[in-house]
C-alpha cells in the first residue's frame, strides 16, 4: 500500500469517526414556548389574598393623567430609549416577554441547586452550620435542602400572589393603559395585552418582590438578583409596556407586601428547626417510649445531625398545629413484625436492580443534592402547564402560591412525622442494602411522596384535564424512593396520603378565593 493511500485511509477514518461521535458539546435544553395570556382577569383585585389582608391597606400614589405634562415627559423618555435601543435591550425584552414569574421561579430553582449541597465535616468530625450573618464563609448560607427550598418557593410565590392581587385592584381602579397603547410615537416592541392597564406595572411588582425575598434567602447573590430585577424593569419600559411611573407604583406595592411577608418569614419557627443535641435526644427518647425498638441513627461518617429535625414545628400556611397533629400518619409497623419484614424484603429486592425502568425512575425523581429538590421539580411541572394553558400573570401567581403552600405544609407535616416516629432507614436495619444515596434523616414518612402528592392534588384541581397525569407522576415519585432502596413502601404510602390531605386544603382555599 502506498503512503498516499495510507494517509487517505487515515484521514477518511478520522472524518468518519468524528461524525460517529458527534462533535458538538452543545447540550440541547428544553425551554418553555412563548405565549400570550388569554385572560385579563379584570376582577383580580377582588381575589382573596393570603397574608396581606385587604389590598386597600397597601397604598400607592395616584397616577398622573394621560396628557399631563409629567406623563408626556415619560413618553418622550421612552421614545428616546426606543430610538437608541441596543442589542442588550432587545435581548432583555425577549428574555422577559413571557411570564416574569416563571423566569423568577427558574432563578429560584437555580439558586436552590447551587446551594443544595450538605456541608463537609471538619477535620475534628463536626458539621459546621451555615451562618446567615456570614453567608459567604464555608459552608455558605444557605444549605438549600428540600425543607429550606420548599419554604423559599412558598414565601416567594405567596408574596408575588398577594402583591399581584393588590396590583390588579389598582390597575382597574385607575385604568391607565401602557405607553404603547397611547396612540403616540411609542411602538410596542413586544405584545401588549389588550385591555390590561399598565399602572401599576405587574412586571415591576414581580421583579421587586422576587429580588427582595430571594436576597434574604440567598444573600450571596444579591448583586445578580438586582441585575435581573433591573433588567426586567428596563425591558418593560423600553418595549413600551410600562412607563417609569408604572414601574415606581409597582415597586411601592412590592415593598409594602414584602415587609409583611418577611415579618412572617422571620418568625415562622425556621430558626429553631435545626434543634440541638438535647432536643434530638429528647425526640428520640420520646419515640422509644412510644415503643420504637430501633431509633434512627445517622449512617454517615462521621455521624451527621439529622436534617432540620424540628422543621415539623415551623408554622404552616394552610393548617394549624392541631390539624397537623390530627393529620399525622398512623404509626408505622413495629420493627420485626411480619409487615415490616415484608416491606424490608421488597426494599432489599429493589436495591439489587441496577438497570432498566427501576433505576431510571429512581434517578429521574432522585432530586437529591445539587438539584432544585422535589419541590423544584414540581415547580417545573407546574410552569409547563401554566404556559400550555396561557395563564395570565395573576393566575400564574395564584397557581404557584397554592401549590407551593401545599408543598411547604406537606414538608412540615412530613418532617413532623419523621421526628415523631424516629424510624430507621432500611439500610440501618439491614446494612447490606445499598442505595442511590441515603438521606440523613428518619425514614417514616417519605418526603418525596408527601411533597409530590400535595403538589399533584393542587395541580389536578387547577388543570383538571391533566389531573390523572399529575397523580401518576406523584405515585411514580413515591415509588421511586422504594426503587432507590431508601424507603419502605409504607413510608411512601403514608406520605402520599398525608400529601393528598394537605393538598386538599390548598384546593379548598383556591375554590374560595374568588378567582373562579
Amino acid at each position: 500500500m502506498s503512503k498516499q493511500k495510507t494517509n487517505n485511509i487515515i484521514l477518511t477514518g478520522v472524518a468518519i469517526a468524528a461524525i460517529f461521535v458527534g462533535c458538538s458539546k452543545e447540550v440541547e435544553q428544553r425551554s418553555l414556548p412563548s405565549f400570550e395570556p388569554v385572560a385579563v382577569e379584570n376582577n383580580g383585585g377582588s381575589w382573596k389574598t393570603i397574608l396581606v389582608g385587604n389590598p386597600a391597606d397597601i397604598t400607592i400614589s395616584a397616577p398622573e393623567a394621560v396628557g399631563s405634562a409629567a406623563y408626556t415627559a415619560e413618553l418622550e423618555q421612552i421614545a428616546d430609549m426606543q430610538a437608541s435601543i441596543t442589542e442588550t435591550d432587545k435581548r432583555a425584552i425577549n428574555k422577559w416577554k413571557n411570564s416574569g414569574i416563571i423566569r423568577w421561579n427558574e432563578i429560584a430553582r437555580k439558586l436552590v441547586s447551587v446551594y443544595n449541597i450538605p456541608p463537609e465535616a471538619t477535620a475534628e468530625g463536626n458539621y459546621p452550620t451555615p451562618n446567615a450573618n456570614d453567608p459567604g464563609a464555608y459552608p455558605k448560607f444557605p444549605f438549600a435542602n428540600p425543607p429550606y427550598a420548599s419554604r423559599a418557593y412558598a414565601y416567594l410565590h405567596v408574596a408575588i400572589y398577594d402583591a399581584l392581587v393588590t396590583t390588579w385592584k389598582y390597575k382597574f381602579q385607575y385604568k391607565r393603559m401602557s405607553p404603547a397603547a397611547q396612540g403616540g410615537a411609542i411602538k410596542a416592541l413586544e405584545t401588549v395585552q389588550e385591555g390590561l392597564p399598565s399602572f401599576p406595572s405587574e412586571d415591576a411588582v414581580v421583579a421587586q418582590v422576587s429580588y427582595r425575598l430571594l436576597r434574604v434567602m440567598f444573600p450571596n447573590d444579591s448583586t445578580m438578583l438586582a441585575g435581573e430585577r433591573d433588567e426586567q424593569k428596563r425591558a418593560k419600559v423600553v418595549s413600551g409596556v410600562a412607563a417609569p411611573s408604572d414601574i415606581a407604583a409597582g415597586e411601592q406595592i412590592a415593598n409594602q407586601v414584602v415587609e409583611k411577608v418577611l415579618a412572617r418569614y422571620r418568625t415562622d419557627g425556621m430558626a429553631q428547626a435545626g434543634g440541638n443535641p438535647a432536643l434530638w435526644a429528647e425526640a428520640k427518647q420520646a419515640a422509644v417510649d412510644r415503643g420504637l425498638t430501633m431509633p434512627w441513627e445517622s449512617l454517615e461518617k462521621p455521624a451527621r445531625p439529622g436534617m432540620l429535625m424540628f422543621f415539623g414545628n415551623v408554622k404552616q400556611f394552610l393548617i394549624t398545629t392541631s390539624q397537623r397533629d390530627s393529620l399525622r400518619p398512623p404509626p408505622p409497623p413495629a420493627i420485626g413484625s411480619a409487615e415490616f419484614k415484608e416491606a424490608l424484603a421488597e426494599v432489599k429486592r429493589m436495591s439489587e436492580v441496577r438497570s432498566g425502568e427501576v433505576w431510571r425512575i429512581a434517578q429521574l425523581w432522585g432530586d437529591g443534592a445539587s438539584t432544585y429538590t422535589p419541590p423544584g421539580h414540581w415547580n417545573e411541572i407546574a410552569c409547563k402547564s401554566i404556559v400550555a394553558n396561557k395563564f395570565s400573570e395573576l393566575r400564574t401567581a395564584r397557581t404557584l402560591a397554592l401549590m407551593n403552600m401545599a408543598i411547604f405544609d406537606a414538608g412540615i407535616s412530613c418532617w413532623d412525622a419523621k421526628t415523631y416516629y424516629f424510624y430507621p432507614r432500611p439500610s440501618q436495619v439491614d446494612p447490606s442494602i445499598k442505595t442511590i444515596g441515603l438521606p440523613n434523616f428518619p425514614s417514616y414518612t417519605s418526603g418525596h411522596s408527601t411533597f409530590s402528592a400535595a403538589a399533584a392534588t393542587v395541580l389536578g384541581y387547577i388543570f383538571p384535564a391533566e389531573s390523572a397525569s399529575f397523580e401518576a407522576m406523584a405515585l411514580e415519585a413515591a415509588e421511586s424512593r422504594i426503587y432507590g432502596a431508601i424507603h419502605y413502601r409504607f413510608d411512601s404510602e403514608a406520605g402520599t396520603d398525608c400529601g393528598n390531605a394537605i393538598g386538599s386544603f390548598a384546593v379548598k382555599l383556591g375554590q374560595q378565593d374568588g378567582s373562579n
Partner: protein, 315 residues
C-alpha cells in the same frame, strides 16, 4: 516475527473508566505485528484509591472509604499487513467501595477498536526510528449507567481518536517511545432530566469533555524480556469541577498524571506465550481518584491462518 509484537500495559481512568485507555501502550506502543499474526490477551487488575481530587483539592471521604475497581480485560490484536494492525477490547469492570451505602456497579463497558499504521521506518545512528498513526473508536456495549460516579463503570460516550507515535530503538535493545492523541467524546443521555454543574441544565444530555493524552516511555527490549518505565498524562479540554462536597459528574474536567512500570516475559515453554504485569500510580489529578493500579495477564501470539514463513528479525 514473534518478538516484534506489542506489550500490554493497561492503565485505567478510575473515575472516568475510559475504555480506550485500557489499550494505551498496546496499540499505542512502538512495536508492530507482522501480517497474519493474531494476539490474544487476557488481563486482570485492580485499581484502588482512598483520596480523590475534588476540583484541585485532594481529600478523603469516609462515606466512600477505599474505592476499588476490578477489571477483567480480554483483547485481540491482528496484523493485517506488516504495517497495519488492528486491536479490539471490551473490559468488564466492577466498582465498589468499602464504606457508605452507595450501590456498586459492574458490567461490560465499551468496545474499543484501534487501527495502527506504520508510517515511516529509518535507520538512525545505531538504531531504528519508527513512526505510527492510530485511528480508533469506542462504543458502549451495554446500557450501563454513566451518571452514578464514582461507581459508574464508564462515561457512556462514543469516542473517536487519532494518535501519533514515535519510537526509537537501539540495536542493543534500549528504546524510547513518545505518543500523543486526541480523543473526541460525544454527548451522553442520562436518566436525570435536570442537573446543575456550572449552570442549571434542563436536559437529559450531558456534554463529555474531549481529552488530550499521551505518554513518554523508556525501556529495554530483547528476545526474553521487555521492561519499561513511563509517564502518562490525560487532560480534559473542557468540563466543570466537582463542587465542594458534591458528587462527581460525567462532564467533570478530569485530568490525570501518572507514572508506571511494566514488564513482559516470553516464556521458554510455549513459543509466543508471554506473561506481563504493570503498576501505575496517579501522582497528580483533577476530579479523579489518586489511584494505584496493577494489572497482570498472559498473551499468546501466533499465526492461525497461514503457514509460518521464515522469521527474520527486523527490530
Amino acid at each position: 516475527m514473534i518478538r516484534r509484537i506489542f506489550t500490554r500495559v493497561a492503565f485505567l481512568y478510575i473515575l472516568t473508566g475510559a475504555a480506550l485507555n485500557t489499550m494505551a501502550q498496546t496499540a499505542f506502543d512502538g512495536f508492530t505485528m507482522t501480517k497474519g499474526e493474531l494476539c490474544i490477551v487476557a488481563d486482570y487488575g485492580q485499581s484502588k484509591w482512598t483520596e480523590y481530587w475534588e476540583g484541585k483539592r485532594l481529600r478523603e471521604n469516609l462515606n466512600i472509604g477505599e474505592f476499588t475497581s476490578k477489571i477483567f480485560m480480554p483483547m485481540l490484536g491482528y496484523g493485517i499487513t506488516d504495517r497495519i494492525s488492528v486491536f479490539a477490547t471490551v473490559p468488564y469492570i466492577h466498582n465498589k467501595s468499602d464504606a457508605g451505602y452507595m450501590a456498586d456497579l459492574k458490567g461490560w463497558q465499551d468496545l474499543a477498536v484501534e487501527a495502527k499504521v506504520q508510517l515511516t521506518k529509518n535507520r538512525v545512528g545505531k538504531g531504528t526510528l519508527l513512526s505510527f498513526a492510530t485511528v480508533g473508536f469506542s462504543i458502549p456495549v451495554t446500557d450501563y449507567i454513566p451518571d452514578f460516579l464514582p461507581y459508574s463503570i464508564g462515561l457512556g460516550a462514543k469516542t473517536a481518536q487519532i494518535r501519533a507515535i514515535g519510537h526509537y530503538k537501539l540495536d542493543k535493545g534500549w528504546f524510547t517511545t513518545i505518543q500523543t492523541g486526541y480523543i473526541m467524546r460525544g454527548k451522553i443521555e442520562v436518566d436525570r432530566e435536570t442537573y446543575y454543574t456550572d449552570d442549571q441544565y434542563y436536559s437529559k444530555e450531558m456534554a463529555i469533555p474531549d481529552v488530550w493524552d499521551g505518554s513518554v516511555r523508556a525501556g529495554f527490549d530483547n528476545r526474553h524480556v521487555r521492561l519499561g518505565a513511563q509517564y502518562n498524562w490525560a487532560i480534559s479540554t473542557s468540563g466543570s469541577d466537582i463542587r465542594r462536597n458534591d458528587m462527581p459528574f460525567p462532564g467533570n474536567r478530569m485530568d490525570r498524571h501518572s507514572v508506571g512500570v511494566s514488564g513482559l516475559w516470553w516464556t521458554p515453554w510455549i513459543k509466543g506465550l508471554a506473561l506481563h504485569a504493570m503498576g501505575d500510580q496517579v501522582v497528580a489529578g483533577r476530579n479523579i481518584g489518586k489511584s494505584f493500579t496493577w494489572m497482570g495477564g498472559v498473551q499468546y501470539v501466533f499465526k492461525p491462518f497461514q503457514k509460518k514463513k521464515n522469521e527474520q528479525a527486523e527490530n
